[in-house]
């Protein structure tokens, strides 16, 4: 039963398959989910798989875990194309596309060092999200983040 096909896409019993991740972003998806080399989660990651819609895509599978809303929102910021498949007992029980929220709160750090959200004030960062292309505008200082969003995720 150990053919090479199964090696690449081993089905999971329970957990989440994040599909249609923008090629190259799978590692950032793992970062969002807090999966590091030392965590004991069972995770498989495939990168640069040919895809009809995207050209190439990444896929991440995590066993025995379903994502929180905040995690899904963060994934939407770095890969708006991603889809989430929730697997229970080998079956896909839910499947949906990530949706970019119109405002993100406490998820991204403002790039302006002089922004009030980067001080010791009791305030969480807030960004207004614009799409095509994706831009995050700080609600406080109006600085815009339009690239390398993954680097500023909190």
């Amino acid at each position: 039963m150990n053919n090479h096909h199964e090696l690449r896409v081993r089905p999971i019993v329970n957990g989440t398959v994040i599909d249609h991740i923008l090629a190259g972003q799978a590692i950032n998806v793992l970062r969002i989910l807090g999966i590091t080399g030392v965590s004991d989660a069972v995770v498989s990651m495939v990168m640069n798989v040919p895809s009809i819609t995207l050209g190439h895509k990444d896929i991440v599978k995590i066993e025995n875990r379903e994502l929180e809303e905040k995690e899904v929102d963060k994934i939407s910021l770095i890969s708006p194309s991603a889809s989430i498949n929730i697997i229970r007992d080998f079956d896909v029980v839910d499947k949906y596309h990530v949706e970019m929220p119109s405002i993100v709160e406490g998820m991204v750090k403002c790039t302006n060092p002089n922004c009030i959200s980067n001080t010791n004030e009791p305030v969480t960062s807030k960004f207004v999200v614009r799409t095509d292309p994706i831009r995050l505008r700080c609600l406080y200082c109006e600085h815009v983040i339009s690239e390398k969003i993954a680097e500023y995720l909190l």
Binding site: N112, N114, C115, I116, S117, T119, N120, E121, P122, V123, C138, L139, Y140, C141, E142, H143, V144
Partner: protein, 307 residues
């Protein structure tokens, strides 16, 4: 039209109708701004909370409040006020808003006024936040153009530091609402950021850029000068060169439009030679005065007073 706005934070919050409403109200208050005292805001207390000095802004708010018959609670600068030391701005705002009917905040961090608004139980007026917004300056600039020139489709040149001077950014945004034809004049290293130029163009503004000051002088209604700060230049000789290239003297005014006006947010360094002061074109001191009726208008609006 009537509108009630609790807080004055960013020019981007305003529609053109709302700006017109504020300018109209300032017009009605202008003679009172010059002299006298009314009881429009009698019994009201305005707290001035300045984390960095700005004598002009602070004094014109004080004057505005006194002319309206109100009182001022002046918390001075950061160093002189023990209230502020070591405390978060959020806590200070929560406390001060229980002592006053409105707060004017000037702060060193961008977005401070926006945050203060979230913690305040009374209206907050942004008196400038870091390199960020300074809506009362923009409104008084618009009022000056309206009173001394024309606000509909003016030809305007904005000269100097367009990169770091973010109050210039909100001015250009507001001018775009009036169909202004804007020419940005600056050295290469202090150019208006591309992102803002693009933004203005999408809004349908007519925008040009040049490094050549003399080329635009004779074809404009408004010349808006700004400071070029030494700190922006690592090389002092480069600074000297630029400062001299973007300076105006009365000799350059020979062929300008007869009713062209010259504005400057003040204080000036030496962008405007004193030889210009007594010409028919100088309006920067008048502009400074117009800060009073504009701030009176805003104070009456945020505190819900009829005039």
């Amino acid at each position: 039209m009537k509108f009630h706005r609790h807080h004055i934070i960013s020019m981007k919050d305003f529609t053109r109708d709302e700006i017109d409403y504020i300018l109209d109200r300032a017009g009605k208050l202008e003679s009172l701004a010059k002299s006298g005292r009314s009881d429009i805001l009698s019994g009201k207390i305005l707290a001035l909370l300045f984390y960095e000095p700005s004598t002009r802004t602070r004094m014109s708010f004080e004057t505005a409040m006194l002319r309206l018959g109100g009182n001022v609670l002046n918390l001075g600068s950061k160093d002189t006020s023990s209230v502020i030391k070591g405390e978060t701005l959020a806590d200070t705002i929560r406390v001060i808003s229980t002592y006053s009917d409105a707060i004017v905040l000037r702060h060193t961090s961008e977005g401070a006024a926006q945050m203060a608004m979230e913690f305040s139980s009374v209206p907050v007026i942004n008196g400038g936040d870091g390199a960020g917004h300074h809506p009362t300056q923009t409104l008084l600039d618009l009022y000056t153009i309206k009173r001394e020139s024309r606000l509909e489709h003016p030809d305007i040149a904005i000269v100097g530091d367009l990169k770091y001077g973010r109050t210039v950014h909100s001015l250009t945004y507001a001018l775009s609402l009036y169909g202004a034809n804007i020419t940005f004049v600056s050295p290469q290293q202090l150019k208006m950021p591309d992102q803002i130029i693009d933004d203005l163009k999408t809004r349908g503004a007519h925008v040009n850029e040049t490094e050549n000051f003399d080329k635009v002088l004779n074809n404009i209604d408004v010349l808006y000068m700004t400071r070029i700060q030494k700190e922006r230049f690592p090389d002092p000789t480069e600074y000297k060169k630029v400062a001299n290239a973007y300076k105006i003297t009365n000799k350059q005014l020979v062929n300008v439009r007869p009713n062209m006006i010259i504005m400057h947010p003040l204080p000036r360094i030496n962008e405007i030679d004193s030889s210009v002061d007594n010409t028919d074109h100088a309006r920067y001191f008048q502009q400074s005065f117009y800060g009073v009726p504009i701030r009176m208008a805003l104070l009456t609006i945020v505190m819900g007073a009829d005039i």
